[in-house]
Structures are given as structure tokens and as C-alpha cells.
Point group: C2
Chain length 287, copies 2
Amino acid sequence: MKIGILGPAGTFSETAAELWLKGKEAGKEEKVEKKYYETIIDISESLIRREIDYGIIPIENSLEGSVGETLDVLSSENSVEMQIVGGVLLPIEIHLLGKGSFTKIKKVVSHPHALAQCKLFIRKRLKVMLKDAEIKSADSTASAAKLASESEEVAALASGEAARRYGLNILAEDVQDKDSVTRFVVLSSSASGTKTAPTGKDKTSVLIYLKDRPGALYDVLGEFAQRKINLTKIESRPSKRALGDYMFHIDCEGHIEDATIKEALKGVERKVAMLKILGAYPKAKNV
Amino acid sequence: MKIGILGPAGTFSETAAELWLKGKEAGKEEKVEKKYYETIIDISESLIRREIDYGIIPIENSLEGSVGETLDVLSSENSVEMQIVGGVLLPIEIHLLGKGSFTKIKKVVSHPHALAQCKLFIRKRLKVMLKDAEIKSADSTASAAKLASESEEVAALASGEAARRYGLNILAEDVQDKDSVTRFVVLSSSASGTKTAPTGKDKTSVLIYLKDRPGALYDVLGEFAQRKINLTKIESRPSKRALGDYMFHIDCEGHIEDATIKEALKGVERKVAMLKILGAYPKAKNV
């Protein structure tokens, strides 16, 4: 079984993949091959070409919000060839990693999302204690760690896994401004025939495109509210046609095969310009 | 009059500021002093300290969606000391800029948002024609242009204004994947006493925090739908308390002093855990 992950080795995505595999593989013996990709789009395209069986990509962080690239992949034309088959919640613990000592640091590197999650640490500690230290973007937290492993003057904001992979010391632990959790979704190809049967604790993800009139969203939400279906997420995303023209990503509790969910979605379908079912799958349970 | 802008000189923010000033200053003579800041938070803090009269910050792009840092500034505790007093729409035209010729390029730099908006150009043209070219993040499109002005081997994805500022050639024009528009908001300090009177073509921005029960958002939207008030934006944003716990940014057509808007917001206030009025201001009209 092949799974696509955002690389290089040591990213938070890899830790998430391991968590998901642990849940899935309980009791089974299956050889897992990890393949690393540079971008979320690369993973989705590889999945559609059936080069991998699963792809795991970050969709949302409790502090930073949604990952735009993932929402775009899920709403692209290609998305009819993919489905969401699972989810994982990963607590994000970011450390300051380096080869040498704190005082030698001249540059701190990390992925822009990790830099954003450590804003206060950077402003109130790094910039105060290391006045001239530069803060720079890297392609991933893991590639930041790799850079740090090449020079004592470079420190990285990255995971504990990255510290182990690249032989770095943890110079400051848990430096994120606030604890956060990232939700990842696991995708498979629609053509693979993988089905996720109802477990009793499921979630269904859909994408809708509204008709352009006042109250359109209100009417759609009514289909869920009348049936007391709980929405765990509602997120607008530009349709890319014009400013102020949105699609909505909606997650609700329940499985598409439950009678009430089926009825609600039938009602929704009559009221929208487009409804796409992204998947029904067990809720993430590891947090 | 002092206005805070994301720097350095030559950013898209500066072009937006000039557009807004042109509309505002029609017929008036007032000396304008621009102050450049590194981050959106720096602008908001400077505004609260009354070091500047206005701050202009990007809030939303028609392709990339919302600017998280701006939504966070508007929903922070500090935001009671700020108000939105205007908006500007700016079409984003990104060019490939360099000192020398296309074939000498070894590195292409830009702000991550601009890189994201030129994904296809990078994948289908740059990576094909310049196989070994590195793609790197910079702090802004303007600082990318500055880097490009220092070496023939570096090209930047940035604005025409940046080309002029840093004496660069346009090596490839309009290379964004799709045309897009960025909306900027203009903030002033609440304490400044600036009021924006109704013009007949206004918008009101509010922030709500829902009570935690199924149908809560549905009930709130009902207050607008019943009164046929058009929502031009609804966007969820993590409350930063827990995953799946959201605040909503809502923009509606009309001015807070219009009777129907006033009534709708009174109704909303009774149904939510928190309502904050961010501002009422003329709709952006330059596009």
C-alpha cells in the first residue's frame, strides 16, 4: 500500500500519516510505502494517476484556519476522481532546533505557517535576545530543519520528529503561541472502489455552489437545521469567478447512508447550483 | 495625514493606498505622509498608538481567499480601538522582473501569495524553460524586486510599480494564472472620532461568535434573509479556542444607520454570544 505525504521526511504530515496508519492497520499486516511530494497538488495528481493508494493532506489548523490549497484541490474539476476516506487530528508542537547553542543563531527558518504560529515567540523572545537574527521562510518545517543541520548559525522552527531525523538539539521547547491542532484528510481515488461503511460516528463532507440571490445560504442551512443535523464546519472559499462569489465547504455529523443525511442532501441539491459529495468517513478520534 | 502601508516601497498595498487617497482627496489639499511597516499587526498597533491616522491592509483576494492575519487583527481584543472606514479593490497584475535576460535566471523569488497566484506559470513555463531555477519565498513582492535588482541571476514576481521603483525590466507580463482582485480595507482609530456618514452605497462589516447549538448560524442568517438584506461576504474563522469553533465575518449591503440594518443587527445580537460592529463605510467603487 502506497501513501503520498508532503515531504521531505520529518514533516508534520508524516507524523499524521503514521497516526492514521496505526489506527487503520490495527491487527493487519500490510507493507506500507511512503512517497514524498513537494506540494498538495502533486499528491492529488499522483492519486488520480493511481501511483499511490492514499494521499494525506492538511486541511485545517485550529489557529490558522483552512489550508487554501487543499480546499482548492477538493473543489477542482479533478476532485470527482477523489474521495475523502478518513481524517486525523494532530496536536502541533513546534520547537526551536539547532546544532549549536542559542547565542550563535543568526537566522531562523521555517515554513510560513509555522512562523505564523510562533509570532509571539519570534517578537518577544527571538527578536529581543537575538537582535540581528533574520527570520526567513523555508519550503517546509522539515527542510528548515535540514538547513539548520548544515550550519550552527541557522535554527529551525520544526517538529520533534524533524529534530530526530536531522540530529538537532531542541533549543527551546513548545514555542508556538498557543496550542493548536491540525486536521488532515486522507484521500483515495474514486476509481479504487474503496468504500467507507457507516461506523455510527461518521462525518460527511460536501461542497456547494449557491444560486446568486439573497437568503440562498440561509435556505440551504435550513435543510440541516430542520433535521437537527449538526454542522461541524462551514467555510466559504472564493469560487475564483469574481470577488464575493463563494463556494461553501460543509461538514455535517452523520454518514451519507443515514436516512436523515440522505434526505437533507436531497433538499440541499434542489436549492443550490451545484452539490458535490466529497466523502463520508469515520470522525478523527485520536484527540 | 499619516497612512500606514505594508512596505517596502512598491508593494501592491502602496498602489492600493494611492487609489484610495485619490478617491478621498478629490478636491482637497492635504499633505500625505506614508509610513511603511513590516506586518499587518505592526500597522494595527501603530494605529492604536495614534502614530498614524489610517492604515490600509489587504483583507481578501478573489483567488486566494481571505488574509488570515487581517481577520485576526479585526477579531482581536485590540479591535475595539479600530474601525473600518473604507475599502479599495485592486486588480493584481504580476510580472516576472529582472535586470538581465530570461536565460540567466537561476532563482525566482516572491511573496508566498504571489507564488501561489503564479503556480501554473511556475510549473508550466519557468520549470520547463529553466530546469534548475530555484523558487524561493521573500517577505514581500517589493523586497523580491529589490533582491532582483541586486543580481542578474535573480528574478522577481512583482508589480509594475516595483519594476519602476527598482529599475527592472518586465521579462514576462501578466503571469498570474488567473486575473484576480484584492480588496483592501482602510482602518482608523475609533478614538479619532472619524465617522463615515451613509452615502446610499454602503457596506457594514460585523463579527459574530455563535452560541454552540445546531442551527445557530441558520437563525442568525434569518435576521438578514427576512429583511432581504444582501450579504456580500460570510467567512468562518477559527475562534482559536478549539478546532471546529468558529467566528464569522459577515459583510452586508447597507449602512448601520439604515433602519433595516439596525433592526437586523438588533435581532442578531439577541441570538449570538458576541456581536462586534467593525464599521460601516462606502463600498469600494474603483473596479
